[in-house]
Amino acid sequence: MSFDLELDDAQQAIGTAVAQFCRDHPSVDDGASGDFDRARWRELAELGVLALGTPEGEGGALEVVAAMEALGAAVFAGPLAATFCATQLLPESERQALVTGDALVSVGKPPLLPFAPIADLFIELEAPHAWRARPAGEIEPVETLAGDPWGRVQLEREAELPEAGRALALSEIARAAYLAGAGQRLLDDAAEHARTRIQFGRAIGEFQAVAHPLADCAMQLSAAAVLARIAAAGFDTSESDPGPHAAAARLSAVRAALGAVYVCHQIFGAVGVTLEGPVFRVARRVRQFASEPPDEHGAREAVLELFGV
């Protein structure tokens, strides 16, 4: 059998379905709303996306990757990576409300917690540990770069949750796939722009100062996408601790997606400066997804383990 770095047909079908869903349910997110579309979140759940990787749902990490690549390409909003983390950590009884989209989870480290003002469940993270937790006091709402409702609040830890390392690995794989998908979408759009935008009598893609940075983006994004798939395959076969490869996938995807953001903003020029233009909606969500907890320090230490440092 030949080497093959593509997802299989069934996995690709998940990606296709999710992409279609995203086209049918365009985001109202305008980057400055502080709102969250819970109805759309429930509809995504109805597709089975949030149950992926659980005993009750389909498949494993590769299926999560398929869905997240498509969600990233659509810059879908919501606690996506956090939900995949939580569904691994929680028992079926508590998982149910998450996979149906009825409950939202906030996973992070106080005081700043994603989606805290509208979250139903809280998990405190201090990689590689995780605790069930509950807010201690008032939640001060804040809005993020990408327009999501987060909040500042202290947490009271309750029971520690077992196997947090594995749950975190899945969430990092999910994050990596999302970022790779978002970056790839930017690259596709920018390459199309470079093929068609004429300045100085030729398509700007003929200028090396445009073409070569896009080529670099393409290389980095393809590597990041494959690393997410490799980490997912390792997660699914459970041959070894999935943490280090998941960490590598996340670090690679952050670098590749942010690289694409910066290069593509440059290539779209003034066209990309507008709030609703072809770049910034993706750019801000990439930056935000890349900044979500856990931080990169732990990921770097995990990767160093692979090299015995």
């Binding site: 804040v142 910066y262 709030l275």
Partner: protein, 373 residues
């Protein structure tokens, strides 16, 4: 070698700093749109002091000073985040001084000097961004008027400005740089539609539809079809204030303040990063000095200005990007200074000449490399 300010310039800087104390929270450098009444008030206050006409000849109400004074004013204003230099007192006034008739000078300069009259730059079009010679907006002469039809875009401040400093085509459609003219178009005239384009930095650009808008022929500046050279000269007029380096010093100071508040300033990686950024701030200051030297010595300074623009704007992005990386989730909360700088800096390497165009200038004019862009 002369690298520092002389005593008179130092004294002027002290005056500027004292004056700016009253405008330190204005933040019109980034938010001119939403603060327009206050920003306009700031410009009027500058006008009262004669500081909008620092370098104009005394005959036209100027102070007859050199570019260093202008640099000091706008560099300090950038540091204070007060406001950017208005187009009116820069490109517009200096072009009128150089190419306008006496009647035009009498008509336009007093209002500009006092900070009353404001202009937007009407160069860019959907198909003419970096490539300005592709401008299509058409001005047809009929008797004493032009009738202008076309579309301008990415126009800053048009919603608040009085006039458009319009680059338009009076020559044949394929005349490229040889068929362009410069005119002053009243933004309140018939046939003008200004539509907002909200931008990523909470401000707006504008699209401007011109549908047979009348421009009196006496509002054409310079000869018909001769605008290309005038526009290039005008760019040169503003080189020393186009990208003031103290904006970067302020950015870095804000980041340092933020890392200190977040307890990150003792982190080894952050310290290393801050030190490298600090060196780059000093580097950009040398580029600004080179521009000043060129302008003072009457040299073209295109290479120096291009270097200043690229180095300054790339660094402005580096500072914001590094800071957001260090800051983690807390740095992407709306209203945090880092989050804003991250967004705002995204377009510094585009507006006012892209980095690619600027590197081409340095390569061609500075190093004699190639004829391609």
């Amino acid at each position: 070698m002369r690298i520092g300010l002389d005593p008179e310039e130092q004294s002027f800087r002290a005056d500027v700093r004292a004056f700016l104390e009253g405008y330190r929270n204005l933040n019109g450098f980034f938010h001119q749109d939403e603060r327009w009444p206050e920003v306009k008030g700031f410009y009027r206050a500058l006008g009262e002091r004669g500081w909008l006409s620092l370098t104009w000849p005394e005959r036209w109400g100027g102070l007859g000073l050199g570019p260093v004074h202008e640099f000091i004013l706008w560099d300090e204003a950038a540091y204070a985040r007060a406001a950017r230099p208005p187009l009116s007192a820069g490109i517009v006034a200096k072009t009128i001084l150089r190419h306008g008739t006496d009647a035009q000078k009498q008509r336009w300069l007093p209002g500009i000097r006092s900070g009353e009259l404001h202009f937007s730059l009407g160069y860019s079009e959907p198909q003419a961004g970096s490539d300005l010679a592709a401008v299509r907006t058409r001005a047809e002469r009929s008797d004493d008027d032009y009738r202008v039809t076309g579309e301008k875009c990415w126009t800053s401040y048009a919603q608040d400005s009085d006039y458009l400093w319009l680059l338009c085509r009076t020559g044949a459609p394929d005349s490229r740089s040889a068929g362009l003219s410069l005119m002053i178009l009243d933004l309140r005239a018939d046939g003008v539609t200004v539509s907002p384009l909200p931008t990523l930095d909470d401000a707006q650009l504008n699209e401007i539809h011109l549908d047979g808008t009348r421009v009196p022929a006496e509002q054409r500046i310079g000869a018909e079809n001769e605008a290309w050279k005038i526009v290039a000269e005008a760019l040169a007029d503003e080189r020393h204030v186009q990208f003031p380096p103290r904006r970067l010093r302020r950015d870095l100071e804000d980041v340092i303040e933020w890392t200190r508040a977040a307890g990150l300033d003792r982190d080894a990686t952050v310290r290393r990063g801050l030190a490298d950024l600090a060196v780059e701030v000093l580097e950009v200051e040398t580029h600004a000095m080179r521009v000043l030297a060129a302008v003072q010595q009457g040299r073209a300074g295109a290479v120096e200005a291009a270097a200043n623009k690229v180095a300054g704007t790339v660094l402005c992005q580096k500072i914001a990007r590094a800071a957001v990386e260090w800051g983690g989730p807390a740095a992407i909360v709306r209203g945090e200074p880092l989050e804003f700088l991250w967004r705002q800096s995204l377009w510094e390497t585009i507006g006012g000449g892209t980095s690619e165009i600027m590197r081409g200038v340095v390569a061609r004019q500075g190093l004699g490399l190639g004829g391609r862009r």
